[in-house]
């Protein structure tokens, strides 16, 4: 099987996000990058499918800056065979990213039997690259997948829906599957794995190589600001039994009129 995994590199969850001076993006210089956690599930799933189907290859694809290739190196250290990087700024829109991923997959010369992605990236939370990519490649896709089993041609996936219920899909490959937490437990990249990853092929492409240009831009980022700071909490003194009733009334009133949660 030709297995592809699309991975995104996102700021470490501990990173303090700061908008740039001109407000058009966030400061990236001091960010520590990690592989998007949902993409880790996708890499792990690819390696599990590879192990179950002898002779399969796992290729990772990423669109983004070449300054730091943490996500690709981690994926190869975990066990992926090779990687493609489409060099681009970190602020492309979802359509451009999907188009670039499609271009890179085509450039690999291999026809995908299975494409795995995370269900969303934890930085911009757009939740649409997998679906756009599947549409562009004319492949069926299932997202928010928490269970995967099957052969090299037919799979059964479980998808989480509102309220914790599960939908079960039978899917014929090739297909695109977007992974959610719970599908597996990603392995660590071992130290020997890290050393071996250095010798694995990483091909770098430009946006132009994969047929993406500024004309593809669908979304323009006009401004980045931090969310407003939360106002301080309110305290109510209900220690005096005589006044308890009035305090409860006040709290319920505020929950209705101010917090608007009732």
């Amino acid at each position: 099987m030709n297995i592809f995994v699309c991975v995104k590199q996102v700021p470490d969850t501990e990173t303090k996000i700061v908008p740039t001076g001109d407000g058009t993006f966030i400061e990236t210089a001091s960010i520590k990058w990690i592989m998007n956690p949902y993409c880790e599930f996708a890499v792990e799933q690819a390696l599990l499918v590879q192990a179950a189907n002898a002779g399969s290859t796992v290729t990772v694809v990423r669109v983004g800056s070449s300054k730091d290739t943490e996500a690709l190196r981690t994926a190869m250290a975990m066990g992926a065979d090779d990687a493609f990087l489409v060099e681009a700024g970190d602020n492309l829109d979802s359509y451009m990213i999907a188009k670039a991923l499609k271009g890179a997959i085509e450039k690999s010369g291999k026809t995908p039997d299975l494409i795995l992605t995370g269900k969303q990236a934890i930085d911009d939370d757009c939740l649409q690259v997998p679906q756009i990519l599947a549409t562009m490649l004319n492949l069926p896709s299932v997202s928010v997948v928490v269970g995967y089993e099957g052969s090299a041609t037919d799979i059964t996936v479980k998808r989480e829906v509102e309220g914790g219920a599960l939908e079960v899909y039978g899917v014929k490959l090739p297909a695109l599957i977007a992974c959610n937490k719970g599908i597996n437990t990603p392995r660590y990249a071992s130290l020997p794995g890290i050393m071996k990853a250095k010798k694995k092929p990483l091909t770098t492409l430009a946006l132009a190589d994969v047929g993406v240009s500024d004309a593809d831009k669908r979304v323009k980022y006009s401004g980045f600001t931090l969310p407003p700071e939360k106002p301080a909490g309110k305290k109510f003194d209900a220690t005096d039994a005589a006044k308890m009733g009035a305090v409860v009334k006040e709290v319920v009133g505020l929950l209705r009129t101010e917090a608007k949660v009732l």
Partner: protein
């Protein structure tokens, strides 16, 4: 001159820290309380290549430099100093083989450690000889093609689980350090008697015991470097192991520091976070300086070693300075936590107990100063 870590070293640290945070820290308290070896965690660390960092590639190891191994040790000690002792004790035991063993001995004894998770114990200290290591009484006597070992060892880390014992003894106690001999003894050899587990202040999950050797007979080919060559091997081992123990102090100190900084920003007294009181700020500043200085000493001691230069003095600087700093930093972290720092429900109490051991084993802080002063006066 370059103070930066290489891209490889950054990745090594990344993995080791991830392991420390995700696998060790959540279980540190539990294993401390139970005082039992976290074998599953240790095995997982081995699977990732974090154990036995001293084994060269020729024998199946990962070919780490001394600096690499310091980075790993610091990270693992950040996760739990006690668990790190169980991991580091393997290196302390295997280093004499790496340093003093023949090619054949290395193949025989080191390679199995790269094929599955095995545990080693380093047996130097005796009930009556700790700091005065050259005065050890355990005898190693030649007898035909064998050597026969008799004596008592004390405070042996990993003893209850050891697959391999690396033991220092004497062929003739009157020769003092010139009679010291180092021998490898495999588990199951008749005459090894492992004592009960010590109930310790800190590093409680690591397994420390007395071990008695009664007429333990092993082939002569288990002697490292030949009879009476042990002292040289021991001294060279310390050049590597002391910075390693020092780096565990840096890891423990860094962990206590990170907790203290976080707590100081959250805890409000006199209407402001205590981080705004200058008394707290000064403690935090002192802690930060000592951690950085300790780490630099460790890295320099390891760098000298990697570059084939004498590092005995730096190894002792790093060991004494990092261990004493760690003790001070852990104590101050408890201070910053106030009454909460004294409770087992908060993490700094354990670090303070764990820190104390670093000033004791692998040469006490006093012994490091003896070594340093001896180096200074022998050259002036």
């Amino acid at each position: 001159m370059d103070f930066g870590l290489t891209p490889d070293q950054l990745e090594i640290r990344e993995l080791a820290m991830k392991f420390a945070r995700n696998e060790m820290m959540p279980k540190a308290q539990e294993f401390d309380e139970k005082a039992s070896m976290p074998l599953d965690i240790l095995k997982k660390a081995w699977e990732l290549g974090l154990v036995n960092t001293c084994i060269p590639t020729e024998y199946g190891g990962n070919g780490f430099t001394a600096i690499d191994s310091m980075i790993i040790t610091e990270s693992l000690a950040y996760g739990c100093m006690g668990m790190n002792t169980a991991i580091m004790a393997n290196d302390l035991a295997l280093l004499p083989i790496v340093i003093g063993g023949s090619d054949e001995q290395k193949k025989q004894f080191l390679t199995p450690f790269t094929e599955s998770y095995k545990i080693a114990a380093f047996c130097l200290t005796e009930p009556a000889n700790g700091s005065d290591a050259a005065g050890i009484k355990t005898t190693i006597k030649e007898d035909g093609d064998d050597v026969v070992i008799n004596g008592n060892k004390m405070w042996i880390s990993n003893a209850g689980y050891a697959d391999l014992f690396v033991l220092y003894g004497t062929s003739d106690a009157s020769l003092k350090h010139k009679g010291i001999t180092c021998v490898v003894i495999e588990k199951g050899t008749p005459g090894i008697e492992v004592g009960k587990k010590e109930d310790k202040m800190g590093h409680r999950c690591s397994d420390t015991r007395a071990v008695t050797f009664n007429n333990v007979r092993v082939p002569k080919k288990n002697v490292l470097g030949g009879m009476n060559q042990g002292w040289k091997i021991a001294m060279k081992t310390l050049d590597h192991s002391r910075p390693m123990v020092a780096s565990s102090a840096v890891g423990g100190a860094q962990c206590a520091f990170d907790h203290a900084v976080k707590y100081a920003k959250e805890r409000v007294q006199f209407n402001v976070p205590i981080s705004q009181h200058q008394a707290i700020q000064f403690m935090i500043a002192d802690m930060a300086m000592k951690i950085e200085a300790s780490r630099l000493l460790v890295h320099k001691a390891a760098w000298l070693l990697d570059n084939g230069m004498p590092n005995t003095q730096l190894a002792s600087y790093s060991k004494a300075f990092a261990a004493d700093s760690c003790m001070q930093i852990a104590t101050d972290a408890v201070q910053i936590y106030g009454g909460y720092g004294y409770s087992k429900e908060y993490p700094v109490e354990k670090i303070m107990r764990d820190a104390k051991l670093i000033q004791l084993y692998e040469g006490t802080s006093q012994i490091q100063r003896l070594v340093i002063a001896k180096e200074i006066f022998s050259r002036s």
